[in-house]
Symmetry: C2
């Protein structure tokens, strides 16, 4: 696949050396995402709504309540900006003003289409389960028609997209005697052992016994 | 302090039982935040930019490069929506369509003011260090005047604000024999041991030996 073509909106101007426009980098960040932040405009007012997302090839899927503001506005094809941010470390510099973070983020500009075809919609919802709970669809069986009908599903094509990655350690302190410490505090997301719901009588399914997905550190 | 008064924009309409308008809840979520997503409009186009943030009493602080789009637009007093989202667990239901997430989020509507007074600006930047690296200012000494001058600092008053918290387990499966598992996979952010920068010769400062801050699980 060709790289994303940077546009006026998607070209990174601050620290352009951190920009990535290749699909592999963008896909890897999206595939780790638990949440995206969806920005849209209503009557001149910006809104930023956290939503679950799942990549399906060259598009990003969202779902929500049909009555919600974000679904109603996006379904009209209004311009949207979707941002996904993963934090990798706190960068601790020798100078307090040089503290920073290492992170990976993706920004997607475009317009959403609502998926209304029941077959395509069902497949999109299965993608969500696979994104968050890989392999777990086998345990729960197919989605019910009424549940598929009750939710709105939106797709945004990956077309006007950029990634930005900061992955640099701080400079060591060579100016002072004794020197000040400089380095990173790596941050990771971990899954604690699954906690059964009150009243659950079923054994933990195999798919959750040693649960992992992209972006989760396995202990 | 009185609760935040829900406005047309900040009133939660989807799952209103999950809404919180009290300051204690909002403050606690903001104090865990490593990143916020800042939404604004330029020429009708929404932008969502991930930024570091720090709460300073009843306002949220942001900082950025003076030349960046987000700083330039926010400094004009344009309307802004800032969203902070913390993910607590994957909710695994017996029915695939009932999978969910437990999370806490805050949404702030308002307009930013740029902090230009050097004394107030310096104090605001110190708040950022205290937010991310509690106690660490002692190790690095004061910020340099040139560094304070080089960055833009913005403040958004906590005035039109709501929190939304989902913290419910799934229902146990009572419909099937044998039943399907229902429960949660708790997710936590952890700090790995500090990694010195290449060339660092200084010992790890005491503030980082057993580093912790709100929202980080200590192992």
């Amino acid at each position: 696949m060709p790289e994303f073509e940077p546009t006026d909106k998607s070209t990174l101007r601050q620290h352009p050396q951190r920009a990535r426009y290749d699909r592999e980098t963008v896909h890897a960040i999206l595939d780790e995402a638990l949440v995206c932040h969806v920005g849209f405009v209503q009557n001149g007012q910006p809104f930023v709504i956290p939503m679950n997302c799942a990549r399906d090839g060259e598009r990003l899927l969202l779902h929500g309540a049909p009555a919600s503001r974000v679904v109603r506005v996006l379904a009209t094809g209004a311009p949207v900006c979707i941002t996904i941010t993963l934090i990798d470390s706190l960068v601790v510099a020798a100078e307090a003003s040089h503290h920073a973070m290492n992170y990976r983020c993706v920004m997607i500009f475009g317009r959403a289409c609502e998926i209304t075809d029941p077959v395509e919609k069902r497949a999109a919802l299965v993608r969500f389960v696979e994104h968050f709970l890989p392999g777990h669809m086998e345990h729960t069986g197919p989605l019910r028609d009424a549940d598929v009908a009750a939710v709105a599903v939106l797709a945004i094509p990956l077309h006007e997209v950029s990634a930005k990655i900061r992955a640099v350690p701080p400079s060591p302190d060579t100016a002072r005697t004794p020197p000040r410490w400089a380095g990173q505090i790596p941050l990771r997301l971990i899954a604690l052992p699954p906690a059964p719901a009150p009243g659950n009588t079923a054994p933990l399914p195999l798919t959750l016994v040693s649960f992992t997905r992209p972006g989760l550190l396995s202990l």
